[in-house]
């Protein structure tokens, strides 16, 4: 009788399996905590791979040019850049590879476009204006901010790590990062700290050259900006050409001649309407930073990659590259948000900024 009492009744199978699943959930939590939350400084201090050529200076637009442009804005609020620079871009008609298949590939209409210049900045080496652009109306409205930037040298187009430290999961508020680096203008970067792979070159220092599946964007010391798919990217070649900055996020959106690519290296999930951040190249010393707000009906629905590509093409970019978006998408001017990040934004691994020490 006593022996019978000692024999434990085995747990029901469904309870056992449920326990296992709960344990798996705990393990996933620990995995995510380790992989994406706990900050880990890296001992990698990088290798200097390029020096700025001080003699390689670009011209800033003359005051007369910029004045006439401002006048154009006030007179023709609705068509500033699209009419001026956007001709010849046919829109993304067949986006499909790993696949940007949201179905809205016909491009966006500029019919309801309004542009308002918010800020102007100019010194001896940097000139830019920040414009707020609204497209469409009602729940289809897209609101985005464009910083149209001229610099005399790429040394004024800089990047910074959170807390000034290269590492994994090290994050800082974008406003704090901008202030720490005396940035006049800052936007969110590629969130390199979330990944163990992907090319990271910042201010002429190589930190990482391993590839992942994402496109790579490289800004060279001669002022040019190029995008590469991972299968054609050659780190040695790019370093030899004088890489100043390299980001790994993507996808690349334009073909180098201002035409929207027919397909993007992304997934359909990532091509959905979202807040976005992108960098565009118009000419040596002339760049565009765009931040699209989103997830706010009536103010801005966000943009698909297809729509963002069209926006960049309309801004006159030859090359354009998507950076980290969603809650990360933010633009800061003189220590204050220009856009309205979703839920106040999030802390970031890195920024792209203008100005500096």
């Amino acid at each position: 009788m006593e022996e019978k009492k000692k024999i434990k009744k085995p747990m029901a199978i469904w309870k056992l399996i449920l326990t296992d699943i709960l344990l798996a959930a705990v393990c996933i939590g620990i995995f995510l905590l380790y992989h994406y939350i706990i900050p880990m400084k890296s001992s990698n201090s990088g290798t200097v791979i390029s020096q700025i050529d001080e003699s390689n200076n670009f011209k800033l637009p003359s005051t007369e040019d910029s004045t006439s442009e401002e006048e154009t804005v006030s007179e023709e609020e609705t068509t500033k850049r699209s009419s001026k620079r956007g001709s010849g871009n046919t829109g993304n008609t067949g986006t499909s590879v790993i696949s940007s298949d949201s179905g809205d590939s016909s491009g966006i209409s500029n019919a309801d476009k309004t542009t308002e210049v918010l800020e102007n900045y100019s010194d001896s080496n940097i000139t830019f204006d920040i414009s707020k652009v609204e497209l469409g109306s009602g729940n289809d409205k897209i609101t985005y901010y464009v910083a149209d930037i001229y610099v005399t040298n790429v040394k004024y187009l800089l990047t910074a790590f959170s807390n000034g430290t290269y590492g994994k999961n090290i994050r800082e508020d974008i406003v704090d990062m901008a202030n720490d680096n005396n940035a006049v203008l800052a936007v969110s970067g590629d969130f390199y700290g979330n990944s163990e792979d992907g090319v990271v070159i910042r201010n002429g220092v190589l930190y990482r050259s391993t590839l992942n599946d994402a496109d790579i964007c490289v800004l060279f010391t001669d002022g040019s900006l190029k995008t590469y798919s991972p299968d054609v990217f050659n780190a040695d070649e790019v370093i030899a050409q004088g890489a100043w900055q390299a980001w790994t996020f993507g996808p690349a959106m334009l073909d180098g001649n201002g035409n929207v690519l027919s397909s993007f290296n992304t997934t359909s999930y990532l091509n959905k309407e979202n807040p976005r951040c992108a960098i565009g190249y118009i000419a040596e010393g002339h760049y565009v930073l765009v931040v699209v707000d989103g997830r706010d009906d009536g103010y801005s629905k966000g943009a698909t990659l297809t729509e963002l590509a069209q926006i960049m093409a309309d801004e006159g970019c030859k090359t354009a590259y998507n950076l980290d978006g969603g809650k990360s998408a933010a633009m800061v001017y003189k220590g204050e948000f220009v856009n309205q990040p979703v839920e106040g934004g999030r802390t970031l691994s890195d920024i792209i900024y203008i100005g500096g020490n």
Partner: protein, 75 residues
């Protein structure tokens, strides 16, 4: 003593297999949505994957051995 340890191992291994499998199914689904987050390509994922393979092989070998044993006992 060794029999006791073997029993414990036999009991624990299938549960570890289930836990790791559930983890990888979850990470695989997350990876479909956002491959840039490297849910499956990280070093930690690769170590866990190796663990899963080894444990799955051990579990399978022990299961086969037990089946053989019970077959012999039946004979």
């Amino acid at each position: 003593m060794s029999k006791k340890i073997a029993n414990i191992v036999m009991k624990v291994l299938p549960h570890i297999t289930i836990i790791l499998c559930v983890m990888f199914i979850t990470l695989w689904i997350l990876d479909i949505y956002n491959p840039l987050m490297n849910f499956l390509n990280s070093t930690l994922s690769k170590v866990l994957m190796l663990m899963l393979f080894i444990i799955a092989i051990l579990t399978s070998i022990l299961t086969v051995a037990l089946q053989r044993k019970s077959y012999k006992e039946d004979e």
